[in-house]
């Protein structure tokens, strides 16, 4: 600990982040690291000048860690250097010239010369002077003992390169990318590869920015353009292409573990994420319109909060939070509490790795093993996501979860829709109270000879069906007996067979009902009424039968006798074969009326007292203007009802009906177990990378989180993103572990360049397109990918970028290029994912099913949607060759390409030139010309060209970009 006056306060602060927030609220918060700065000028000097030198230059070999105390000397604590190593105390306060350390770093002749050349060699003079000055002033050193923060020594953590503020280079105004690279190349005495030729350059730039090759016309134009800014203008043209967002959006989707579906077996179901494409399209558009990266990040973390409320309703911002709803957690587990912790873990991991390049999720169960993050800090960040939700509720045990669907219709439109739906319901109630005859008569209906059907115009149900033949009729999934009548209710309305009594008398009614479609549906309810009096009722189950006889009904002339068939929960497949016979029982002559016989005799509605109507009302409406008006109004309203677009995404407030409903800090889950809870941790940020903690007044605090992540003060966000942009232009990043800027990650190969780019990025208003311009106009980007002669020996991994990196086309680029070559590429943008690989849309739009690890994308090293992918694998395996040789997709493109060749004019060589221009953007070689004369026997036959076209699509030249 430090000896500063505020040390006790700092200790308290660190012990209890809860108090930290309390202090924030009353406005006396002092940033943890600022304490040093304000506390004591000596501390300030040590922290800002001396500690970094000791950490970076000395502690590689001289710490108290096991095996790292070379010469017995530890320089990571004051007691360490006071005691000194094998030669005695290393530092004598106030006496620089007598201190062994100074003799060593000045490369004195007698003693050791430190640091040795293999550890970087002699220090710059300025650093030697600083150390002397420090010792001269008493060698103030607050490091009395080693402190651990998570998995890192506190001193090391404080000096960790990635957590230091971004350093604007001194020569920022004049520096260029090449000035940083060239100085290292010169030091290494490494020759640079020459500038790439123009064909290579255009092919490289076009693939890099759009994922597609240049057209023949674009190549000719560029070759003819000798102006100095020809290439700069190419970059501008490509950046303006909508294809740019489709290429660079996909890089982002790799990091967002993007999937269109969790599992092919439940594709598009309620438990799936079929709405994910809206997030994909948002990402693509964000790149295309060069949305400032800080806003791009804020929208994903807190778009729902930023975009709604106070009259705001920004659909894009709501969709942006979809990033958090498409994650990887085990849907379908019975243990809902575990699912909850897994959802949050996915969200913490996405936030920390994708935006910040740190592996905070490693601190879920225990403090981080290598980096300065504690499980307390993990739960501080987790609190933001426990206070938010992507599921409305958990389903009952055993059922899969259903992601929350967010209605994207504007609130006022939603209100109008609600009103319209309300009015439709009112109309339905009114209409149901009437009996409206089915007027439309179809003969040989449903493609079945002898089937008569009566319906309302334009609606399949409710319906009456009648078998006009003398044999059983099989229709779809059911059958109707000879001269049988079948009634089918509508989705919301009943169907009624009504009979108008011709004379006063005593009657009996005889009913038989059979649900003739047992394969589906859930049966019907029935009622028999005389005017309003209920005579009998019942239900039949799916496939069931009911019979009913009611005798001695006294009926006046004109009275209605109604048999009403009502739908149950479902109206589908409830075709009910109905026998309805009425007999007069008080007359001398036996008289009877049968619905079936009436239909058999070809009677029209009402002709002999029988009506078949929609509804179950008591009033028979034969030609009523009211009903017509209502029906017209209903039809108009129904046409205006829209299927509300929905998105998956975040909402504020924890999952309902859980302990986290509303806004809550998380409690530490010991060993990651939800049933072993420890302290509550206020929502906040990892202490090592944040001077301040949030003051959360209301809500989940995600807005504060979003602001902190995108603050220009945040040491990670800009560095992480410029590193990713660099990676996709050079095939390798400056920090070669783009998702891990921690201890197990790689150090930047060019730290000053990284900070230069990060500063430029922020200064440009976080413009990604500006970064492309900066990078692509550099000499380094435009170099040939063939290394200079001495590069292999000096820098086999090309860390110094003496040449460009040849790269294989990504899975998306390869398939798109095959389509492009065949002239089949459908340029349609956006929309729901396409499941069929044969559909010629860009591969970005082909459904990405997370559980599918054997399809096209998996074979060609597409991003594995189960993880946050920073670097795709680069494997060369036989299944890729098998796919290109034999898969129907590849064969189809080869065939189509051959049909195009046959349509070209000219001789064999001219057609070959057309091919090589289209596929490789260059004229043919002599050996290719001899190949064609040997391989193609008939210039005008597709079959003659096809094997060769197929081979050209398989070549390395087609698949690699120089």
């Amino acid at each position: 600990m430090t000896s500063s006056p505020l040390a006790p306060l700092r200790s308290i602060l660190r012990q209890s982040a809860a108090k930290l927030v309390l202090l924030t609220c009353i406005g006396v918060y002092v940033g943890v690291w600022n304490v040093c700065v304000f506390a004591d000028e000596k501390d300030d000097f040590f922290e800002s000048k001396i500690r970094p030198i000791l950490v970076q230059r000395c502690e590689g070999c001289h710490t108290s860690d096991k095996g790292k105390m070379h010469g017995g000397l530890a320089l990571d604590t004051k007691p360490g250097w006071t005691k000194g190593g094998d030669s005695g105390p290393a530092i004598l306060p106030g006496k620089p010239m007598e201190s062994l350390i100074i003799a060593a770093i000045e490369y004195g002749e007698d003693g050791p010369q430190m640091p040795p050349s293999e550890a970087g060699g002699k220090l710059p003079n300025a650093e030697i002077q600083l150390l002397k000055e420090w010792i001269d002033r008493g060698a103030h050193d607050p490091r009395l003992a080693k402190q651990k923060v998570g998995g890192m020594d506190e001193a090391e953590a404080k000096a960790w390169w990635a957590f230091q503020p971004i350093q604007k280079p001194a020569d920022y105004k004049t520096a260029t990318i090449d000035s940083f690279l060239d100085s290292k190349l010169t030091t290494a005495n490494l020759s640079k590869a020459p500038e790439a030729d123009k064909r290579t350059l255009l092919r490289r730039a076009t693939y890099d920015l759009t994922g597609l090759p240049p057209t023949s016309a674009e190549m000719s134009e560029f070759l003819a353009d000798t102006s100095a800014d020809a290439f700069s203008r190419i970059v501008e043209r490509l950046l303006a292409s909508p294809r740019y967002g489709e290429r660079w959006g996909r890089h982002w989707l790799d990091l967002a573990r993007y999937a269109d579906s969790w599992d092919a077996r439940s594709y598009g179901g309620a438990g799936d994420i079929a709405e994910a494409w809206r997030y994909r399209d948002w990402v693509v558009n964000a790149f295309n319109r060069d949305q400032p990266y800080d806003q791009f990040v804020r929208d994903q973390i807190a778009g729902d909060i930023l975009g709604t409320g106070d009259g705001r309703f920004n659909v894009d911002q709501i969709i942006a939070t979809g990033a958090y709803a498409i994650g990887e957690w085990g849907n379908g587990d019975a243990d809902k509490k575990k699912i909850h912790t897994d959802i949050v873990d996915d969200q913490v991991d996405f936030t920390s790795r994708t935006f910040l390049g740190i592996t905070l999720a490693c601190a879920r169960c225990h403090d981080h093993k290598y980096d300065p993050f504690t499980t307390r800090e993990y739960h501080a960040l987790a609190g933001f996501f426990y206070s938010s939700r992507i599921l409305e509720n958990f389903t009952p045990p055993g059922a899969g979860e259903e992601p929350m669907r967010i209605d994207l219709t504007e609130p006022h439109v939603r209100e109008q829709q609600t009103q319209k739906q309300k009015r439709i319901a009112e109309i339905d109630t009114s209409l149901t109270a009437m009996l409206r005859p089915l007027q439309t008569v179809e003969r040989n209906a449903l493609g079945t000879n002898g089937l008569m059907r009566r319906i309302k115009q334009g609606a399949d149900t409710p319906s009456l069906m009648f078998n006009e033949t003398d044999a059983e009729l099989k229709v779809l999934t059911f059958s109707i007996p000879p001269s049988g009548v079948a009634l089918h209710p509508g989705p919301t309305s009943s169907i009624t067979a009504a009979w108008v009594s011709p004379a006063k008398g005593v009657y009996q009614a005889n009913i038989k009902l059979v649900d003739t479609d047992p394969n589906c549906g859930d049966g019907v309810l029935w009622e028999l009424r005389h005017e309003t009096t209920l005579l009998g009722s019942g239900s039949i189950a799916n496939g069931g039968t009911a019979e009913y006889l009611k005798a001695d009904i006294s009926i006046a002339q004109g009275d209605l006798l109604r048999l009403i068939i009502k739908p149950q929960a479902s109206h589908a497949c409830d075709t009910t074969v109905t026998t309805f016979v009425i007999a007069r029982s008080d007359a001398s002559e036996p008289l009877h009326w049968s619905l079936g016989e009436s239909l058999k005799a070809g009677r029209q509605s009402g002709e002999d007292g029988w009506w078949v109507c929609e509804g179950d009302g008591q009033q028979l409406i034969q030609n009523d203007a009211t009903a017509r008006t209502l029906e017209a109004e209903r039809a108009k309203l129904a046409a205006e009802i829209i299927v509300a677009p929905k998105a998956v995404g975040l909402a504020d407030g924890g999952i309902k009906n859980t302990t986290y409903a509303g806004y809550h800090n998380a409690r530490i889950h010991k060993r990651g177990q939800y049933d072993q809870l420890s302290d509550e941790v206020p929502r906040g940020f990892p202490v090592m990378i944040s001077k301040d903690q949030p003051n959360i007044v209301e809500g989940s605090g995600r807005l504060e989180l979003a602001k902190w992540v995108t603050s220009p003060e945040n040491p990670l966000t800009a560095r992480v993103m410029v590193n990713r942009i660099w990676q996709h232009h050079f095939g390798q990043a400056l920090v070669r572990t783009p998702n891990n800027f921690g201890k197990l990650g790689e150090r930047p190969t060019h730290p000053e360049l990284l900070d230069y780019l990060a500063t430029k990025f922020i200064d440009s208003g976080w413009s990604i397109k500006q970064m492309h311009r900066l990078v692509m106009n550099s000499d380094a980007y435009q170099r040939s990918s063939v290394p200079a002669s001495n590069a292999g020996a000096i820098d086999s991994e090309n860390t110094l970028l003496s040449h460009q990196q040849r790269r294989r086309l990504s899975a998306e680029e390869l398939r798109d290029s095959l389509l492009f070559a065949a002239g089949s590429l459908d340029p349609t943008r956006g929309g729901p994912a396409v499941r069929d690989l044969m559909v010629p849309r860009r591969t970005l739009y082909i459904a990405n099913v997370r559980s599918d690890r054997s399809g096209y994308l998996a074979v060609f090293d597409g991003a594995n949607a189960q993880t946050i992918v920073d670097k795709r694998n680069d494997t060369v395996v036989a299944p890729q060759a098998l796919w290109l040789l034999n898969n129907a997709f590849a064969l189809t493109q080869a065939n189509t390409l051959a049909t195009l060749v046959v349509k070209q004019d000219g001789d064999a060589n001219q057609r070959l030139a057309w091919l090589t221009d289209r596929l490789f953007q260059r004229p043919p070689t002599q050996s290719e010309q001899s190949l064609v004369s040997a391989a193609v026997d008939n210039l005008n036959r597709v079959e003659s060209w096809e094997p060769l076209c197929h081979v050209l699509l398989c070549t390395n030249e087609f698949v690699y970009v120089d």
Partner: protein
């Protein structure tokens, strides 16, 4: 230690890529190791088994009806379970439900096995039966994931992928890890996923027994025409590479086409069981309606391990009567469905064991039988049993395990594993051990830490090692 960290530094990236060009993931770390050190690829200690055949009974086979007899269930049939059920329940089950099946002693060892497995029972002296298995997840998805990858929720490499990563495969013209599953089991591909391990360690799914591997041929070009195409391709690629001599990936890709061509010729033969003798087919129950399907799967598995495939996983997901991702999931009608499942697998499994033995392959092949969990000793909806991870049975045979042995026990009702508990992680550690791998030393660095199949758990079950 077999870790990607330790080798990554030694092996030139390009060289590694070139070696990946091998094919269906048959060149594992072992090959890289050999290349970098010039020595033989070495497991951590001498392996007892070379190959694994994992017979996976998808859905959760009922231990108390098959391998774990419980007289108390019969005695107290219909009574409540006399102790409190664990907190983790899917649905409330009813009272104790006696097994409708008789158990009897088999082999010299006198192992008690249900009458539903008369032919498997004949191999009792080869079987090492574990009656004390424990898993953590009560649903198919999570439990299947754990049984195959060690982890219940997140994407992790499957056991087969780890084996391939650690040991490589012995036949470079065939996939090193094959999954034979006519219908997709719960969760599907994540069960054989290589996850963050490189893609070549991914299991290769065979779901159509008649057309086992995708893209092995086409109808547009004859083999002769295709050979001609490859010759053109070689010429074109060689002249392209001539100006780019530094890049070994280009040559690797060229070779991958040649390998693909060889594979087209050899792989169909490896999967083709039509050349097997009548006697062999009969041994597996092939051509008998009830056993035909699983018999073919088991026979294909034997052909593959014979040709050096490292791991074959055989999912039982289809019978002559139905196809299901969870065939062994008897929530109801146990008395009709369980015998159907057993009839369709009994002869094929017994045939596989006999065939491996007569060919001298059983010693080097570890056969594993089991599902993702067992089933409750209590009744669900009167005629079935619920999911049950708290105590269940699995068995192994061959490849370095003691035959004729029963290890561990559940309580008197078959509810909790009470004696010599074997957790899934312990099972995994033991399988790796039998293959010559120390489970704590087979690691892969990903996203900032070293991962292994057994996470931070797992103990080798020493008692069952031969």
């Amino acid at each position: 230690m077999l870790t990607n960290q330790s080798f990554a530094g030694k092996v030139n990236r390009r060289a590694a890529l070139a070696s990946f060009a091998g094919g269906f993931g048959m060149l594992g770390l072992a090959a890289m190791c050999a290349e970098s050190s010039g020595g033989e690829p070495a497991p951590h200690f001498p392996a007892k088994a070379k190959n694994v055949i994992f017979l996976f009974m998808s859905g959760g086979p009922s231990h108390v009806d098959l391998f774990d007899p419980k007289p108390s269930l019969t005695r107290l049939n219909g009574q409540p379970l006399p102790f409190e059920k664990p907190k983790l329940e899917r649905t409330k089950t009813g009272n104790l439900f006696a097994s409708p099946y008789q158990f009897s002693k088999h082999g010299q060892c006198g192992m008690e096995i249900s009458e539903l497995f008369p032919n498997v029972a004949k191999h009792a002296d080869d079987i090492c039966l574990i009656r004390s298995m424990v898993a953590d997840n009560i649903n198919h998805n999570g439990a299947c994931l754990q049984m195959n990858t060690g982890e219940q929720a997140f994407s992790r490499p499957s056991m087969g992928s780890w084996l391939l990563y650690g040991l490589g495969s012995e036949n470079k013209n065939l996939p090193g890890y094959v999954v034979i599953s006519p219908s997709q089991p719960a969760q599907g591909a994540p069960l054989w996923s290589s996850s963050f391990l490189p893609g070549e360690y991914q299991g290769t799914l065979v779901n159509d027994l008649k057309n086992p591997i995708a893209n092995l041929g086409n109808t547009r070009f004859t083999a002769t025409a295709q050979r001609q195409q490859l010759d053109w391709l070689r010429d074109l690629n060689q002249s392209h590479a001539a100006q780019r001599a530094d890049d070994s990936r280009l040559n690797a890709r060229l070779e991958s086409f040649e390998l693909a061509f060889r594979m087209q010729r050899e792989a169909p033969e490896a999967f083709d069981i039509s050349n097997e003798t009548e006697a062999t087919r009969k041994l597996y129950g092939v051509d008998e309606p009830v056993t035909d399907h699983f018999g073919k799967q088991c026979l294909m598995a034997r052909r593959l391990v014979e040709k050096g495939v490292r791991m074959v996983q055989v999912y039982h997901t289809q019978t002559s009567k139905r196809s299901s991702c969870q065939l062994w999931d008897q929530h109801s009608n146990l008395a009709t469905e369980l015998p159907n499942n057993c009839q369709s697998t009994d002869q094929p499994i017994a045939g596989l064991l006999a065939d491996l033995k007569q060919r001298g392959l059983l010693d080097e092949t570890l056969v594993i039988w089991g599902g993702e969990f067992g089933r409750t000793p209590t009744a669900e909806s009167g005629t079935g049993r619920e999911h049950h991870p708290f105590g269940f049975s699995m068995w192994m045979a061959g490849g370095g395990v003691k035959g004729g042995m029963v290890h561990g026990a559940t309580d008197e009702f078959g509810w909790h594993s009470v004696e010599n508990k074997v957790h899934v992680h312990d099972l995994h550690a033991t399988i790796l051990h039998l293959m010559g791998i120390h489970h704590e030393k087979l690691t892969y660095n990903y996203a900032g830490r070293d991962y292994r199949l057994t996470d931070v758990h797992g103990n080798v079950v020493k008692e069952i090692l031969a």
